[in-house]
């Protein structure tokens, strides 16, 4: 199908984008467009105006100080995938990126778009939650920062207001004692996951501390598995504990029972990754 008609405006700055969103009812931001244009083509969405932020170089930064890696909202998946800074400072994101869709889509899709769209089966929202990252937001009332745990509110629902723009994500820089793990199961490479798991932890001798497990594809948002986290820290059976954490629903891809079973399989794989010393 073809999209319904819409107007189009190129934002000249982040403030300009915010002003356009505030001024025109039913306006939508377009960044990579890899989810949005599909919904336009299928007429699942029909905004009156698209506000294009692709020309905003200020949203393209990959920067780090001692503690934090900042990825601008317009950093393409492929750029992050091939970034030495991401590989070194945010290895969890580097591991997750090759699982996102396909090369032609990663060339266009953006980090900010994946977070703002908040598909419950997407990789990056879960990575952000596992890393304890933050989201930078610009809006009519100025700039603010929201913790990942407070950002994902419900199915495709985030803390972003209607006239707000996600400008960057901030994640803690990996330390020598940092550990991460990532695994997902999909019917075909690049498909949305049946179930996936992003994990971060800190090694203390042979033990793991500050374990954060973020499952995706098992609920309306990425889901922390806190009973399994505590079990891993105590060196106990985390897969058994997982029964307290996850309550997936049946969907078109898999039954709830299958998802629970697969979540346990992924947890074993990721627990093994967390136990490995960092290369």
């Amino acid at each position: 199908m073809k999209p319904a008609p819409f107007g189009y405006a190129k934002a000249k700055s982040v403030d300009d984008a915010v002003a356009l969103l505030a001024r025109y009812a039913d306006a939508r931001l377009i960044a990579g467009g890899q989810s949005l244009v599909a919904t336009l083509n299928m007429r699942l969405s029909a905004p009156r105006l698209l506000v294009d932020i692709n020309a905003l170089d200020e949203l393209r930064r990959i920067e780090h100080d001692g503690d934090t890696l900042v990825l601008g909202a317009l950093v393409r998946h492929a750029e992050a995938e091939h970034s030495a800074d991401v590989a070194r400072h945010a290895p969890l994101i580097a591991r997750a990126l090759p699982h996102i869709a396909h090369p032609a889509i990663r060339n266009r899709g953006t980090i900010g778009g994946s977070i703002a769209y908040a598909d419950p089966a997407a990789e990056l929202p879960a990575c952000l939650l596992a890393m304890g990252g933050r989201v930078e937001i610009a809006g009519p009332a100025g700039r603010r920062t929201v913790k990942a745990g407070d950002f994902f509110k419900g199915l495709f629902e985030t803390a972003l207001g209607p006239s707000e723009v996600l400008t960057a994500i901030r994640v803690p820089v990996a330390r020598p004692e940092s550990r991460c793990g990532f695994a997902e199961l999909a019917r075909r490479h690049g498909d949305y996951a049946l179930v996936g798991l992003a994990a971060a932890a800190r090694a203390e001798g042979a033990a793991l501390r500050d374990v954060r497990l973020a499952f995706f594809g098992v609920g309306a948002t990425p889901v922390r598995a806190q009973a399994a986290e505590a079990a891993l820290e105590r060196g106990e059976d985390a897969v058994a504990a997982l029964a307290h954490d996850l309550d997936p629903a049946d969907d078109v891809q898999a039954s709830a029972a299958a998802k629970k079973q697969l979540a346990g399989v992924l947890l074993r794989r990721v627990a093994a990754q967390l136990a490995e010393a960092r290369a």
């Binding site: 199908m1 073809k2 999209p3 319904a4 008609p5 819409f6 107007g7 189009y8 405006a9 190129k10 356009l20 025109y24 377009i30 467009g33 890899q34 244009v37 599909a38 336009l40 083509n41 299928m42 105006l49 698209l50 294009d52 692709n54 492929a78 090759p98 869709a101 396909h102 090369p103 032609a104 889509i105 060339n107 266009r108 075909r188 490479h189 690049g190």
Partner: protein, 162 residues
Amino acid sequence: MTDRFHDIALTVNGEPVRERVDARRTLVDFLREDLDLTGSHVGCEHGVCGACTVRLDGAIVRGCLTLAVQCDGATVETIEGVADSGAIADLREAFERRNALQCGFCTPGMLLTAQALLARGGVPSRDEIRAHLSGNYCRCTGYHAIVDAVEAVAQARAGQVK
């Protein structure tokens, strides 16, 4: 400016193009309907099948998930331009020799996607080839022959002729 129609200027297969486009025109429809470049195919129109693959500023993208209006100032290459350049003559020949196409609908997208992998150099494993081509559907071949063709070209270009 929040208009529906916009003037764009871009380079398509090395030639300058100026057109007035409706904002809702996708890049692949623009190429096919306005420029008569019908080598890029329209399959699923929601980014799944890869038949509309073209190059935008040197990188492969989905022609159905990119709007023409977003390509103002850009460089676009289609299968027509890339084939005419001779850069994939060996790949086309390998597809033919190995029966890597039957109906041919997916072939332009498949060739551009494979070339993006081959351009990195080296000889990718068969798993890497399959992962790289995972976003391009072929309903005829079962993929095996396509992987054969891409692998053969990678080996030939690396000087490891089988």
